[in-house]
Amino acid sequence: MSSTTTDPASTITDFAELLETLGFTGDEFISIGHEHRGAWRTAVMAPTDAAGYVAKLPEGANIFFGVNPVTGPARANAGRGAETDVTRLAALWADLDVKPGACKSLHIANAIIDDLSGLVGTRPSVITHSGNGLHPYWPVDDGHITDTGAARALVRRFGRLVVAVAGEHDARVDSVYDLARMLRVPGTYNNKGGTT
């Protein structure tokens, strides 16, 4: 599956560019998971192989990537990597679904991102439109993990900030703040019924 879109290329970040923004390097490993016809498969690979691997997956699959690098080696169907396998906090993220009971509109989701940006002091570097909402990413410069507990706590606290800010907009957000979190891959499709 290609990561091309119908929008002008200059305003779109493809998967490889997203990984570059998140600081993935050649000596790290990324986890990719996809769901197709009810079956869930995972693979861990070098970031340089990720875009090619995703391109070969069926267009009807829901495809996700681990936001944070995990330990190697490259492997298939051996799990996506647990929290303790995460080697670096690549970014903080939010998963802002646009639907009844979550964010009532894309406008609300964007307003939450604006507020979060003000609170953390910077805009996100990229925002993914997941087909079901928005995924803003705030990359972390020095996220190499020496203490999983400390990194886990930081991600959880950020998650609580997202919940608090969303609450001010009368919106509810999913609790998706674990180090091994997977989010949708840009350029793929959000196929109805898939896990977001």
Partner: protein, 658 residues
């Protein structure tokens, strides 16, 4: 949305660092909480399934009532303290032990208490509530309560159920006040003549050596204060005077110990007085004669008013008055004073060149500092600057003010525990740093175990001690110019840096000195002062100022400082104890005297006369419940008439007198 493409757009933000994220989260009140670093919490009881009680349980009602007055201990984390309360409230909701109305009222109560507690300087550095602080505590507490097992949720509420029947089992109660282990005073860290005397006085009076040792140090301070300073490094000098305050109950022989240790100072005062007697008499006579002559000239000039000789007579009278005024009569040397008003102390300080020791086996000086003689207006400048050595202006009635360039006061007091509690009630004593200037000591009581007809102080030990103190006091009393400056050897300088490096982290966060950071920030200075005093007691007034202080002396002073540090931790724990804890300690004592397995609120009102009304009693009961000394028993169904008084089961530890 079906088959929509996932599209990623660049935005304008740059990367963050971990420290920036942590800072921003703290800034907005999203603090790291207990359990944040651990594995995911699995939801055991979804909040959607929690129910409300039709009547709030007695335990939960008491717990909530207690929050209206309860507050964290000084230095304890304020956010975690509130967060813990929210978790307990959510557990009460989860277990169906609170009504919806009481639950919301409790949340509002906590929201109202947060700014009050955050602004209370006796608990921590005042700050405003953060933007999301309350919202985060509330939301997160729900998650935490939902993830607890039933047992864990009950444990948050002291094991309570609505019937409080079989589950009414006591755990080990939590002590009401912090207990600190006080080490033995390191007597061998004192110079030999002092150490031997301390051991001998301790033996003869059957008291803890800490009492005589502390008194000995204040005696040395009375000799060295104002005459010598110690330079730790360029820009940091400490004067060699200290404030000490051993705390001991009545009947602990405080006066006997202090009188023995300070005795040689009075000898020196007498000697100095005798030595200056003839010069003083001469000056006094000259002054009186000059004053009489001036008076006569004044009368003569008055008689010649409006005559030809008036100008000359007036000039003669003015000249005679100036001559009389210029004659200075040396003051009677005083090193030590006892009970003295601030005005008299200030005058004496000015007369004695800025040096004065107040050595007393009573704590009455604290009443004086608090304003006993000045309309209850504390006058603390003298005592604050007398320790730090900052210049002091002394206003005097009908005379121009005097300036003391380098005041050096020694306070060697001995007080009873009750006095410490009274002192704790004076906010200015702590707020302005007076209490941070004292070295506290807790001599262990030997009452009940004292040996009768104990060995008196051997004459040779007494003679050697008194000679050491007399020589030091008399020698330094003759040093009337700027204070001598003690220096450190290179190794001693490094030793001080090592102590500073070890102490610094303990002043913040969970450090042992964090709750008494005001005292802790003067701790290394106190060690250095003690080192200077030990050095002079060891080397004498002659060789002492010309010899550098060794690393070994710094080490000895550090050992003594470690003793004072442990005592300060206990003293500030007692000083910082809030009135509810004090009431709870009192109530527990009254309950112990009742020797009952269960007590009713009415029993307690009758037994604890200190409480004049029920509202005064309830916070103390709540504190005892909170700490596990009392367990509320279920109230009986109302049958009309006067409502039954709440009944509490008493922890066996109380009735067993443990």
């Amino acid at each position: 949305m079906s088959n929509a493409q996932v599209i990623c757009y660049p935005d304008t933000g740059g990367p963050l660092t971990l420290a920036e994220i942590d800072d921003r989260l703290n800034e907005h009140g999203i603090y790291q909480q207990a359990g944040d670093t651990g594995p995911d919490r699995e939801e055991v009881a979804p909040p959607s399934e929690w129910t409300w009680a039709t009547e709030t349980s007695g335990y939960v009602a008491t717990m909530i009532a207690c929050w209206a007055t309860d507050k964290p201990e000084p230095g304890a984390g304020r956010n975690p303290w509130f967060y813990g309360k929210h978790i307990r409230l959510e557990c009460a909701h989860r277990l169906g032990l609170v009504t919806e109305a009481d639950y919301h009222e409790a949340k509002e109560l906590l929201a109202r208490r947060l700014p009050v507690i955050l602004h209370d300087p006796s608990i921590g550095i005042p700050r405003e509530p953060k933007r999301y602080e309350i919202a985060d505590m509330r939301k997160h507490a729900v998650t935490v309560a939902a993830a607890k097992t039933d047992e864990q949720a009950h444990a948050e509420l002291g094991g309570h159920t609505h019937d409080d029947g079989p589950a009414a089992v006591f755990d080990e109660p939590i002590p009401l006040t912090q207990t600190t282990q006080i080490p033995a005073f390191p007597v061998d860290a004192l110079p030999a003549p002092i150490a031997d005397m301390v051991r001998a006085v301790s033996e003869s009076t059957q008291t803890d050596p800490a009492m005589a040792a502390t008194s000995g140090l204040s005696t040395i301070s009375a000799c060295t204060g104002g005459h010598v300073v110690i330079e730790v490094r360029p820009g940091w000098r400490e004067p060699l005077n200290i404030y000490t305050v051993p705390i001991a109950a009545p009947g602990e022989r405080k006066s006997a110990v202090q009188a023995t240790m300070v005795h040689p100072i009075f000898d020196v005062e007498q000697q100095l007085g005798d030595a200056g007697l003839s010069a003083r008499l001469e000056a006094l006579t000259r002054k009186e004669v000059a004053e009489n002559a001036a008076e006569q000239s004044k009368r003569d000039a008055a008689r010649k008013a409006n005559t030809d000789g008036w100008d000359k007579a007036l000039a003669d009278a003015i000249g005679a008055a100036q001559i009389a005024d210029a004659i200075e009569v040396p003051s009677i040397p005083r090193i030590v004073a006892d009970d003295i008003t601030p005005e008299a102390a200030a005058s004496l300080l000015a007369e004695q060149g800025g040096r004065l020791a107040i050595i007393s086996a009573e704590g009455g000086i604290f009443d004086i500092i608090a304003g006993r003689y000045s309309g209850n207006v504390p006058n603390m400048d003298l005592w604050l600057k007398g320790h730090s050595g900052d210049p002091l202006k002394i206003d005097r009635k009908n005379r121009p003010p005097e300036y003391v360039r380098r005041p050096a006061v020694t306070l060697g007091l001995m007080i009873q525990p009750d006095v410490l509690r009274t002192i704790a009630g004076n906010r200015q004593f702590r707020g302005r740093g007076l209490l941070a200037r004292f070295l506290y000591a807790y001599p262990e009581s030997m009452v009940g175990h004292r040996r009768i007809a104990a060995t008196p102080v051997p004459a040779n030990v007494r003679e050697r001690y008194e000679t050491t103190i007399r020589d030091l006091a008399a020698g330094l009393a003759g040093w009337l110019s700027d204070p001598a400056v003690l220096t450190l050897t290179e190794a001693a300088g490094k030793a001080v840096i090592a102590i500073e490096t070890a102490v610094e982290p303990t002043l913040a966060g969970d450090g042992e000195l964090a709750p008494l950071a005001d005292w802790g920030s003067k701790y290394v200075g106190a060690i250095v002062r003690i080192a200077g005093m030990l050095h002079l007691a060891e080397h004498g007034f002659d060789a002492g100022p010309t010899t550098s202080v060794s690393a070994q002396t710094i080490h000895s002073a550090h050992r003594i400082g470690t003793y004072f540090k442990a005592c300060a931790i206990r003293a500030f724990s007692e000083i910082g104890t809030d009135h509810v804890t004090v009431d709870a300690v009192y109530l527990l004592d009254r309950i112990a005297r009742l020797c009952q397995d269960t007590v009713s609120e009415r029993d307690l009102m009758r037994a604890a006369k200190r409480f004049k009304k029920k509202d005064d009693l309830l916070p103390a009961i709540a504190r005892l419940v909170d700490h596990g000394y009392l367990l509320p028993l279920p109230s009986h169904r109302s049958t009309g008439g006067r409502p039954a008084s709440p009944v509490f089961k008493v922890h066996p530890i109380v009735t067993e007198g443990r």
